[in-house]
Amino acid sequence: GAGVSQSPSNKVTEKGKDVELRCDPISGHTALYWYRQSLGQGLEFLIYFQGNSAPDKSGLPSDRFSAERTGGSVSTLTIQRTQQEDSAVYLCASSLAPVSGTKNIQYFGAGTRLSVL
């Protein structure tokens, strides 16, 4: 597609429910990243994919968070048993290749705003 697409744009859920957030990267981009943006905070790195594998899961805050990527394209971030502190904007980005420099310029989606009641 023309840009990184994320869905849903907004998600309201009850505490304890599971949610799935979807990211569709730019066609041809091999690297995909998930970030969390909380109010007044910077971007918190969650996980990174190269193709379908995740070499770096160091940012996942707990075992309630998981992510997968299929076909080297769409990725899903799943949060199980959501808590109120999970409320944030979840941003997805993609880049041509996971190397420093020009190829690693990240292009961001508009994000999913998650509200846990």
Binding site: L43, F108, G111
Partner: protein, 114 residues
């Protein structure tokens, strides 16, 4: 590991005035530096980047930034701001070799008043 400090959480300014948004970083190796802008309810958009070469980098929308290695800074400037520049601005750094995951600052909210 690298870190980024954006010294101002909020910068109010009047339209047509100049503005500087400050960014300092720390890293033990050479770095690449980025500024991103986030308009309300949108994702981040790359404003400009420093990878190598000239330390004065020009970006979109009339913004520019200067890489100062001795002061480990990468401040963003614009000589005359518009109302439409009201947004959140993020500075980011990645190591030129090794980890390619950029580290982002906490952001600076630029508020342009008429």
């Amino acid at each position: 590991a690298q870190s980024v400090t954006q010294l101002d959480s909020q910068v109010p300014v009047f339209e047509e005035a100049p503005v500087e948004l400050r960014c300092n970083y720390s890293s033990s190796v050479s770095v690449y530096l980025f500024w991103y802008v986030q308009y309300p309810n949108q994702g981040l958009q790359l404003l400009l980047k420093y990878l190598s070469g000239s330390t004065l980098v020009k970006g979109i929308n009339g913004f520019e930034a200067e890489f100062n290695k001795s002061q480990t800074s990468f401040h963003l400037r614009k000589p005359s701001v518009h109302i439409s520049d009201t947004a959140e601005y993020f500075c980011a750094v990645s190591m030129s070799g090794g980890s390619y995951i950029p580290t982002f600052g906490r952001g600076t909210s630029l508020i342009v008043h008429p």
